[in-house]
């Protein structure tokens, strides 16, 4: 009986996750050459000397670390601000969440409009403040493009960090705070020794989920810059996409995707170690 309930789900997942993975392994081991298909680790050894791949890898790390830091600090700040009984809290919370719900493509369109050097709201506003915007071409500028795509990610995903941390804050019982008050702890001490430790499980979960998404980022960057100008914002997912669907080198793309998979697995395993140490899962 349980087998009948489980069979459809297992069949679908075998066909749509496990089979593709095996398929991908087999093509990653094949290299098409003029003399025919060669089997071996050629695609993987090629990775090590591919400067484009290494640059994309570096971009991915820069992107993930910068966005994660900003999103965490801003999200925590907002959660602390709203973790009080204040009027209009429901409205603030609902409105702050809107960016996170939007389709990535729409976020791309919104920020193409905002950052457009000719009529975008950002530059027009800066002009009114008397700032020369001639060099501020944002996504079209090799120097500012990475900053722009990171800022867009922070805009869209800070609400998610905020939401999870706010839920975590509200689950903290009152007693430790009362004890801290009796001990005469300052607000900063209370935050550091009471709030943060009790919030740690929520922090780890939200960092884990964000890190996974940041390492695989594709959609917004594809819409905003397509990895450009030049190669300035090319991340691993974009480079894999280009390799597979522009250059049709599926074997090499598959090999790179396994590096990305290994990377995300290792990092999530580290987070989960920390989480299990706290016995929250």
């Amino acid at each position: 009986m349980p087998a009948l309930f489980l069979a459809p789900a297992i069949a679908v997942l075998l066909a749509l996750s496990i089979y593709p993975l095996i398929y991908s392994i087999t093509i990653s081991l094949q290299q098409g050459t003029a003399a025919g298909v060669i089997w071996g680790l050629g695609n993987f050894t090629r990775l090590l000397s591919d400067n484009f791949f290494l640059t994309a890898l570096a971009h991915t790390f820069v992107y993930a670390v910068s966005a994660l830091t900003c999103e965490f600090l801003l999200g925590l700040g907002l959660a602390l601000l709203l973790n009080k009984q204040i009027r209009g809290r429901g409205l603030f919370r609902a409105s702050l969440l809107i960016p996170m719900m939007l389709p990535a493509v729409v976020v791309g369109v919104i920020w193409r409009l905002m950052l457009n050097p000719n009529f975008g709201a950002i530059n027009e506003t800066l002009k009114q403040l008397g700032i020369n915007t001639a060099s501020l071409t944002w996504t079209a500028s090799p120097k500012l493009a990475m900053l722009s795509v990171i800022a867009v990610d922070v805009w869209q995903w800070t609400p998610f960090v905020f939401l999870v941390l706010l839920a975590g804050l509200q689950a903290i019982p009152q007693e430790p705070y009362e004890a801290a008050l009796i001990d005469g702890s300052s607000r900063w001490q209370t935050f550091w020794h009471v709030t943060l430790p009790l919030l740690k499980p929520s922090i780890l979960i939200v960092l884990l989920l964000r890190t996974m998404d940041l390492l695989r980022v594709f959609d917004q960057i594809f819409i905003l810059t397509e990895g450009g100008p030049g190669f300035a914002t090319e991340t691993i997912s974009l480079y894999i996409y280009r390799t597979a669907f522009r250059f049709f080198d599926f074997g090499y793309a598959a090999a790179m995707s396994f590096v990305l998979l290994a990377l995300t697995n290792v990092i999530s395993a580290i987070y989960i170690k920390f989480l299990q140490a706290k016995e929250t899962i």
């Binding site: 679908v12 907002l78 601000l81 009080k84 729409v106 791309g108 594709f218």
Partner: protein
């Protein structure tokens, strides 16, 4: 006095955050309603302009966005229904049956792990598989892929909702001679219907927003979803800002309605049930 200042600065900071999070989307909305002259006005017109619906007409009647919209709806609804039926059955089995070899936990974790792959890892082989079975550029390919994509999520969410429910309820129904499936449909599902609805809404949002698979699997007007249609226009040389903004605004509307309806379950849904908010 200092309390008042603290309260005041709290509101001030929150209002700034609110402006930052809402103004960009509002700016796009205004562009979709402005004539081309107003779009390029300097300084920008945030409020004072004469609204027009010409870009909406242009996008959805003259250009192909109506068809993309239709595809998006079909694909989101069909894949959500498939994932819900298959996933709920599996979730029920995992929550209620004692499986041998600690399979309850092992299967749940395996199902979760399939969702953890970066999309691009499966996009490459799925493209080749769909090419092999000649399903490229069909809505069916997207329905199949999104069903698989949403399935782990449904299993984890519904497993949590089933586990929250006392067993005695369906045991009574089983004693009355109901089959397991009968007990599930007649007794259990009505009780978890808010959770089921929230899960459905999350699946709809994910399918509606999904971009990478849709981009890879569909390149023709007949099978393209709204996000791919919009993206195709963005990256062309001469960009019709009004048309794009109109299409993007329409793409947002169902999401906002849905998101507000599941606010209560947002944390649980977005963390795959890891945090019970």
């Amino acid at each position: 006095m200092s309390r008042k200042i603290a309260q005041g600065s709290r509101y001030a900071l929150l209002t700034v955050a609110l402006l930052f999070s809402l103004a960009p989307a509002y700016w796009m909305l205004t562009i979709s309603l402005k004539t081309e002259v107003d779009q390029f006005a300097s300084p920008p017109a945030w409020f004072a302009f004469t609204p027009t619906l010409e870009h909406y007409y242009d996008a959805f009647v003259t250009r192909g966005f109506g068809e993309y919209l239709f595809t998006s709806v079909i694909v989101a609804v069909a894949s959500t229904v498939c994932a819900l039926v298959i996933g709920t059955l599996a979730a029920y089995a995992l929550a209620r049956f004692e499986l041998p070899w600690r399979l309850n936990r092992r299967l749940s974790l395996w199902i979760l792990s399939t969702r953890m792959f970066p999309a691009i890892v499966t996009a490459v082989p799925l493209f080749l598989m769909m090419r092999d079975v000649q399903l490229l550029n069909t809505r069916a390919s997207l329905i199949i892929v999104y069903t698989g994509f949403n399935l782990p999520f449904v299993v984890w969410m519904m497993r949590g909702f089933f586990a929250d429910l006392p067993r005695e309820l369906e045991e009574a129904a089983l004693v009355d001679g109901d089959s397991r499936l009968g007990a599930l449909v007649r007794v259990v599902l009505p009780l978890v219907s808010p959770g089921l609805a929230a899960t459905a809404v999350f699946c709809l949002i994910v399918s509606w927003n999904e971009f990478l698979f849709a981009l890879v699997l569909t390149q023709t007007d007949a099978a393209m979803t709204l996000p791919v249609g919009i993206a195709g226009r963005v990256t062309q040389y001469e960009i019709k800002w009004g048309v794009m903004s109109a299409a993007a605004t329409v793409a947002i509307i169902p999401i906002l309605v849905f998101a507000l309806s599941v606010q209560k379950y947002l944390v649980r849904g977005l963390s795959m049930g890891a945090v019970k908010g």
